[in-house]
Every structure is written in C-alpha cells, then in structure tokens.
C-alpha cells in the first residue's frame, strides 16, 4: 500500500521518455482522437466565455489547460460505463458524445443541458463540492450488484478532497471492493484558495491511503501518462473490483469561472510558466514526433472544432425556453404502483 510519485511519459517538448514503451499503434490512434476532443473543448471554452461576456450565457467554468485529464477519462470509458462529473468536465462529456449545445444550455440556465441523452446513464453536472462521490459509490454498488462488468469514474477538484464526502466514499468503496475510479483534477486552486491551504500533505493521491486504496499521482498535462494510468486504473476496477485513485496534477490557467478574476490572487510568473506547459501543445509535439499528427492538422482540427461550436451556439441561441409547466413536472410526490 503506497502512493506513487508523479508519473510522466513525455517531456515538455513532447519527447518520449526512454523508460517508457509504447505498446501499440492503437494507442497513438486513441491519443489522436483524444487530442481532437481537447481541441474541441478548448474552442468551446473560448466561445462560452465570449457568450457570457456578451450577456448570452450565465456563469461558465472553463477547463483551459486541464483538457487532457477530462478528454482522456471520457474517451477511455466504455459506453456502458458511468461517468460522474463535477462541473468542469466538458472535454469528457464531449468525448462521451455530448452535443456542444447542451453545455451552453446548462450554463445558460436551462435544465435541459443535463439531459445527457447520448449516455443516459451518466450523471448530470454536480455543483455542491464532492457530493458526487457518494453517488458514484451507489452507482458502483448497483453495477456490481447487477453483475454488469462496468465501472464508474468520478471526477473532483483538489478542493473537493477536503470534504468529508470524498473520504466517506473511498472508505466504503474499499470495504466493498467496488469498481470505481476517483480522478482528481489537481489544478492547484479552489477558486482563490491555493493547494497548500487546502491540504497539508505531500500529494493528494496519498488521501487514498486512509481507505487502503492505492493512489497514483500523474502529470495531468501529459496525455500519454494519463492514458496509461487511466487505462490501468479502469482495468483494475473492471477486472478486479479494486477502487482506484488518480491525482492528475495540472494548473488552472483560466479563471475559476467567468464570475472570477484570478489576477486578484495568482502570481503572473506562475501563470506564464503554467501556460507554457499547455497539454494540447505538448500532445501535438508528441504525436508529430510519432508521425501521428501533421502540421496541416493543427489548422484543420481547429477549424473543424470552430464549426461544431459555432453550429452549437446557433442551436443554443435559437432554442425556445421551456414551457412554464416544465417547472412543476418533475417533482416526485405522486404514489404509483410499479414495483
């Protein structure tokens, strides 16, 4: 029972570390797909911020600089697995098949943004910090109970690891050996509270030890490290019902949300440095070196994403608001007799 120090595979220049072996070509194809979702998420972020600034969207939480974590997680799960997001997961949801206009719909203040018809078993956005963890445990129990061979992946921020729900959840997951993966987006900030005022330990992955769960810390800007680590964790959870904890270390180079102004509390040098570690840039460098991405693709996928996002925005802006009756429709207070 240990926690691993930060695991990484490719350096800042996209160069594969000598110790790492790339198992298959398939992996590189996967990484290429993941990169596309990262780009899409990045473009979507910008659009949503623009919509918010012009009064056409509510408060929005971007995930700029953290795309690799979410895109990889969303991509690696099977269709029948259950993804349990918090609120910064657009890259994962896109990789799971969510239409981009749903993201706008949600942040635009429309409950229909949570209608994940692409993956109807996925949980909706979760705002109260860490409260999604117990849900994930309940789902994992249900999956194991019905002997489905599926797993649950739940995400949370570094700030969320301070909250009781997270520990209580891990504790139960381990006692009952549930197929669950906890994935922490350690972006160093919880709004304005820095990680050293959030936790007094050396690594958040260490928090798994309290429950007897193995924890891994991984470079959250390193698409290959994330890929390998998440793949391993999903396998452990799926095949051995071993709960898993992964801390992906990154940096929130965006504001917390559009309601925030990070310049009030961050240090410009750190910000600049963090920006230079951008996971999209690094993934491109790496895939180019592996001959799986070509110069013209930068532009092509950027434009493609722009088109998708533009179409989504139009759809969102042209959507009628819900009928007033919808406000009253979904409160369960009627008895019924289905068993």
């Amino acid at each position: 029972m240990t926690y691993q120090h930060q695991f990484s595979c490719i350096n800042q220049l996209g160069v594969l570390k000598q110790t790492v072996s790339l198992d298959t070509k398939a992996c590189l194809n996967d990484l290429k797909d993941i990169l596309k979702y990262m780009i899409l998420s990045n473009v979507l972020d910008k659009k949503c911020i623009a919509l918010q600034r012009t009064g056409r969207l509510g408060t929005f939480a971007a995930s700029t600089g953290q795309e690799a974590i979410f895109a990889t997680a969303g991509y690696l799960l099977d269709d029948q697995d259950v993804y349990v997001p918090y609120y910064r997961d657009q890259a994962a949801l896109l990789a799971r098949g969510l239409a981009a206009d749903k993201v706008m719909s949600y942040w635009g203040g429309d409950e229909r943004g949570n209608d994940f018809s692409h993956q109807p078993q996925d949980m909706p956005y979760c705002v109260p910090i860490a409260t999604q963890c117990p849900h994930a445990v309940g789902i994992a129990y249900a999956l194991k109970y019905t002997q489905q061979n599926n797993v649950v992946l739940v995400t949370l921020g570094d700030g969320a690891t301070s909250k009781g729900d997270f520990y209580e959840s891990m504790n139960f997951s381990k006692i009952h050996n549930l197929p669950i993966i906890y994935l922490i987006n350690n972006n160093q900030w919880a709004i304005s509270v820095p990680i050293n005022l959030q936790s007094g330990n050396q690594a958040l992955s260490q928090k798994g030890l309290s429950a007897g769960i193995d924890g891994y810390s991984v470079d959250g800007n390193d698409i290959l490290a994330l890929y390998q680590c998440l793949k391993h964790a999903i396998k452990q959870a799926r095949e051995h019902n071993q709960p898993q904890l992964i801390e992906a270390v990154t940096y929130r180079i965006c504001d917390h949300t559009t309601a925030d102004d990070a310049s009030r509390y961050t240090c410009p040098e750190t910000h600049t440095h963090a920006t230079s570690l951008d996971p999209i840039k690094r993934a491109k460098l790496f895939l180019k070196q592996q001959d799986h991405w070509h110069d013209d693709e930068d532009l092509k996928h950027q434009e493609n994403s722009q088109k998708i996002v533009q179409a989504a925005a139009e759809k969102y802006l042209n959507t009628e608001t819900q009928p007033i009756t919808s406000l009253y429709q979904y409160h369960g207070t009627q008895e019924d007799t289905t068993t």
Partner: protein, 324 residues
C-alpha cells in the same frame, strides 16, 4: 394474533425484498443485530449481506449512495438510526435526492425510502428524541409520511417502497411496541398515505399523527365523558399536505386543534394551522390552536415530560377551545 409496529414494518420490508430483486437495505447495525430497534431482524439471514448491508457510520454517504443506487436501477431503503443523526445527510437529501429528477428533466429519478425512528418519550439519551419533520416537509420533491398503527405502517411502507420518488418514512418510536393490532395485508382501496378520520365527532377537529395520535385518542375518551366529542384526523402525510378532509371537518366543527411533539415555532402545525385559518376563515368560531412543545432544546430524559404535550394538556386545550 396481533402484531406491533416494529413487526409490521419488518414484514413489509421482507415482503418488498421478496417481491423486488432490486430492493436493498442500507444502515448501521441492520444486519446481524437487526437494527437498534430490531426492525430489520432476520432480514440479512434471509436475503444475504449484499441486500441487507451493514454500513459504516457515514450518514451523508448513505443518503448519497441512495441517490446513486436509485438512479441506477436499485431501490434502496435506508435506515437512519435516529432522526438526530440524519442531519449530516441533509445536504444529500436537499441538494440531490429531492432534486435529481427535476435537474435531469425526468431522465434520472430517485425511488428510495429513508426510514428513521423519531420522537421522544422513551427516556433515551440526548439527540435520540428529535422530531424535526418540519425541516424535511419544507423541501419540494420529498414526500414525508408517518404511520401510527401496525396495519397502516405495513401498507405505507409497501407504498413508499413502490413509489418512484424519494419518501421519508418517520417511525414513531414511542409506540413501536405499544400499539398492536391484527395485521390486514389486503391492499386498501385508497392510498395508505391519505389522511383519515380516526374518530368522527362534532365539537372540534383535532389533527395529529404518529405517537401523539394515540394520546389524542386517549384524551378524546376522557373528553367524551364530559360530553365533548372531537373529530380526530390522522394526517399520515406531512408533505405534500392534503387538507381536504380537515377542511370538511372544520367546516362542520368550527374549531380546530393541531398537536405535535416538535417545538412550536416553524413546525408543521404552523402550515396546517395557517391553511385551516385561510380556508375555513368563515367557518371558524375560535382561532385554530396548536398544542406543541415549547421552543427549547429537547430536555434530557429526566425532564422530557415537561416538554411534550401530555394527555392532560390535550384535554384542557380542547375544553378551552370548545368554550371559546
């Protein structure tokens, strides 16, 4: 053969586990121990540890797991050991259990039952005598029910377990063992959660539920001897409120008394009292009265009889109301 409320609930749980393979029970000490009040006695032996789950002490987790289980095909029935230990779970109950269906426009819903003993009068230690049902009643999306007899408890629990949405099931622990009757398992024509007239009468309407209902019936017997005949209504469902029966009754009796053991201010009696005032405004010959506990913390056991309304208080308040 007569049975008590504990046994009735046990039978309803057993029946539900038998009929619905997706039903699971969660709670502290509900396995071998059978629960601190023995409500789940024998169920783990019969249905196994996967379906009757002894949990760690994590109330917030239990409510949160109920959310995840119920959105994903299971029908969890959670036992909270005492109502005073429910509070850590309120976050999950208010922010998720009650809202998931609305949040997802009906895509995911939370069929689940949260059971817990409530109320005092058994000389238990601090925090074991809570009656804070008003907190739950204020939350849209929750149904809050309270049985007061074994047969009713049985049907109410079966109904709750079959409900497609969350139900808070409050068990009046003071009468767990004392109220006995022959169990009638035949489904009733009307829903078990409808309010009911327990004893008809013409002089005033008394509204109560749970353990206080039985004190009210007792007081009523004594009032009868003085020629006062209250109509007694068992509210059964605290939220959403259905007061049709109460309005009819008060329109006839012109007087109304509401009884509960929670403290008075901002209690369930405020809502019921307000509504009766409002709807029966032209029928009332006296103000609607409440008989509740004072606005103080529940005393430790030595003094708790100074807290809850006692049978004599019911008699006196009723007399005063009739004479108003």
């Amino acid at each position: 053969m007569t049975i008590d409320i504990v046994t009735a609930i046990n039978l309803a749980l057993s029946q539900t586990l038998q009929n619905s393979a997706n039903t699971v029970l969660l709670g502290q000490d509900i396995g071998k121990c059978g629960g601190v009040f023995r409500v789940t006695e024998g169920l783990q032996t019969k249905f196994g540890t996967k379906r009757v789950i002894d949990t760690p002490i994590s109330e917030s987790l239990l409510a949160g797991m109920a959310v995840g289980m119920s959105t994903h095909g299971l029908r969890p029935i959670v036992e909270f050991q005492f109502m005073g230990f429910l509070y850590p779970a309120l976050d999950q109950i208010i922010n998720h259990l009650a809202r998931m269906k609305n949040r997802t426009r009906g895509r995911l819903s939370c069929p689940s039952v949260l059971r817990m003993p409530y109320g005092g009068g058994i000389g238990a230690p601090e925090h074991h005598s809570e009656s804070t049902e008003a907190l739950l009643a204020h939350i849209p999306g929750l149904k809050v029910v309270v049985p007061s007899t074994p047969t009713q408890a049985y049907h109410l629990l079966i109904e709750a377990a079959n409900c497609n949405d969350p139900v808070i099931f409050l068990e009046p622990k003071r009468i767990y063992r004392s109220v006995r009757e022959k169990l009638d398992t035949e489904p009733t024509a009307t829903s078990a959660s409808q309010p009911r007239v327990v004893i008809p009468g013409n002089d005033l309407t008394i509204i109560a539920w749970g353990a206080m209902l039985h004190d009210t019936i007792e007081a009523s017997k004594q009032l009868n001897r003085q020629g006062i005949y209250p109509e007694i209504i068992d509210l059964v469902t605290l939220s959403p409120l259905n007061l049709t029966l109460a309005y009819e009754s008060v329109s006839k009796t012109n007087r109304c008394l509401i009884i509960h053991e929670a403290c008075e201010s901002f209690g369930v009696g405020a809502e019921v009292g307000y509504r009766i005032f409002d709807h029966c405004f032209n029928y009332l010959e006296a103000p609607v009265k409440r008989l509740c506990s004072p606005d103080i913390t529940i005393p430790y056991s030595k003094m708790e009889h100074h807290y809850y309304p006692q049978i004599n208080d019911i008699i006196q308040t009723s007399q005063a109301l009739v004479e108003y």
